[in-house]
């Protein structure tokens, strides 16, 4: 906003340096055909937030924030979302590599299956998880009898539900980056004697790091906001499975003002974390 005029841009050519010529080009003027829908889009995204802010019971805020249940739910949300992101990274990056770098029959079907949690209503996803990993689920029955592990109604169950819905965001993002990355670097590594695994670790992974990071952030944000699959698969118990979105939903039933407060806390924390992360990568990229 402050430096939109061409003269201003010309007066500060050094900003961004020669490494970022695109930044200077943008300042030369934005065509209205792009600016107008962009601003409309921004307003569309920000307006609901303004609604929350306007409706927030500011005078009552200290009393509501003093409730230890709020912090308990927030702590649980942050730890489970982070754990789910870790799970998604460990399983999702290799899966994305498999989809982008190998040829096998049924690969297109597999790619479609990976996006399944995006299409499935989360509550249905939760029921599906119960049918698979529940006490009487096809795999859960075996988990229970062989290891005595039951996932529903546990914090681990929350992580499972969040990882399930967040996984596609990482896989799609990493796969896209892999396809855009030049495979000749890996081939060069191979000609120099690196095994495929070494090439993946030493060449591919550093190459696609920005895509992995972007996917991880998307997955983390999705896990943090997860509601349907979590409440269906892991239930709702304060301190164990009640994450912030669950607390918000239940507060909405009898105390909408508390729900607004809780939403704002969740939003403030996630925006802070995301903004901090974003700055770090754009500096690195």
């Amino acid at each position: 906003m402050t430096s939109r005029t061409p003269s201003d841009a010309a007066a500060r050519p050094g900003r961004g340096g020669p490494r970022r010529p695109d930044a200077r080009r943008l300042r030369r003027g934005v065509p209205p055909a792009l600016l107008l829908p962009a601003l409309l889009g921004l307003a569309f995204l920000v307006l609901p937030l303004v609604g929350l802010l306007v409706r927030a019971p500011w005078s009552d805020l200290p009393r509501q924030l003093a409730d230890p249940q709020v912090w308990q739910a927030l702590r649980l949300s942050l730890t489970t979302a982070t754990a789910a992101t870790a799970v998604v990274l460990v399983l999702g990056v290799p899966l994305a590599w498999l989809l982008a770098r190998t040829e096998f029959p049924g690969r297109r079907l597999l790619r479609a299956l990976v996006t399944l949690p995006l299409v499935l209503p989360p509550v249905v996803g939760g029921v599906a998880l119960l049918l698979a990993l529940g006490r009487n689920g096809i795999a859960g029955r075996w988990l229970d009898s062989a290891f005595g592990i039951t996932l529903p109604f546990t914090t681990a169950g929350v992580v499972v539900a969040e990882a399930f819905v967040a996984m596609p965001f990482l896989v799609i993002s990493v796969e896209g980056t892999l396809r855009a990355a030049d495979p000749r670097f890996e081939e060069a590594a191979a000609t120099l004697g690196a095994s495929r695994l070494t090439a993946f670790r030493r060449v591919t992974l550093p190459l696609i790091a920005p895509g992995v990071a972007a996917g991880a952030v998307l997955a983390w944000a999705r896990a943090l906001g997860e509601f349907g699959a979590t409440i269906t698969f892991a239930g709702n118990f304060p301190g164990r499975t009640q994450t912030m979105p669950l607390a918000v939903y239940l507060a909405l039933q009898d105390d909408p003002e508390a729900a607004v407060t809780l939403s704002l806390v969740l939003l403030a924390v996630s925006v802070t974390v995301l903004a901090a992360l974003r700055d770090r990568w754009t500096a690195a990229a």
Binding site: R55, N136, F153, I231, F237, Q253, D254, E257
Partner: protein, 267 residues
Amino acid sequence: MTIRSVRRRTVRLAGGGAAALLALTACGSSGPSASSAASAGKPSGTVTVFAAASLKEGFTALGRTFEAAHPGTRVVFDFGGSDTLAASITSGAPADVFAAASPRTMQTVTDAKDAAGTPVTFVRNRLEIATPPGNPRGIRGLADLAAPGLKVALCAAEVPCGAAARKALDAAGVRLTPVSYEQDVRSALTKVELKEVDASVVYRTDVRAASGRVDGVEFPESSRAVNDYPVVLLKNAPNAGAAREFVALVTSPEGAKVLTGAGFLAP
């Protein structure tokens, strides 16, 4: 103060949307307009009923009865949590009739002056324990739910079935820690149907609706936590004439017969 003024603004906005919707539906419906037909005394057109989720089976049957008795009418239902429905109505949703699962949720609507007339209690519901078929853990009453190792799901205290369950448990002097406080009665029931929990406390009508997939266990303390179901005609009803007839059917002996068949108690 600020909250109230904001809410008023929201209502006005939503009202505008509702008016637009109404205009659209008016264009869509053929034949004479609903209001003129109503003043002529013959119900016609579409009646939109917002009803608590537990009324699904009973009201669906009553809707069919109504349509058969008044050719040219159609009854459309929105079944959901009473709180959610009440919030939609106070935000200007174009509904004719509201049937709630608790007087408290009905009060949200009457307080907002969105009701035409006084709500009438037409049925009552009481709690039952739902267990997997055959009651494998041999549960006979609320006290058995506190047994160690038993997994129980209760409704959250914020929703009507949870408040009622808490009242009944207090009356029985039973203290128990469930594995989950479910967000509504149907999800508490689902957990039993999937055998993920050994028991949950739900409405009698829910046990009836899921008969074959769950067994019901009655307990005496349920009489201490009986839920009243009020019904009312809404002030901004798009089809008030036909809607009034539907409310009359719900509160009639014939309506009571259908609803008690679904497991409700007469008021």
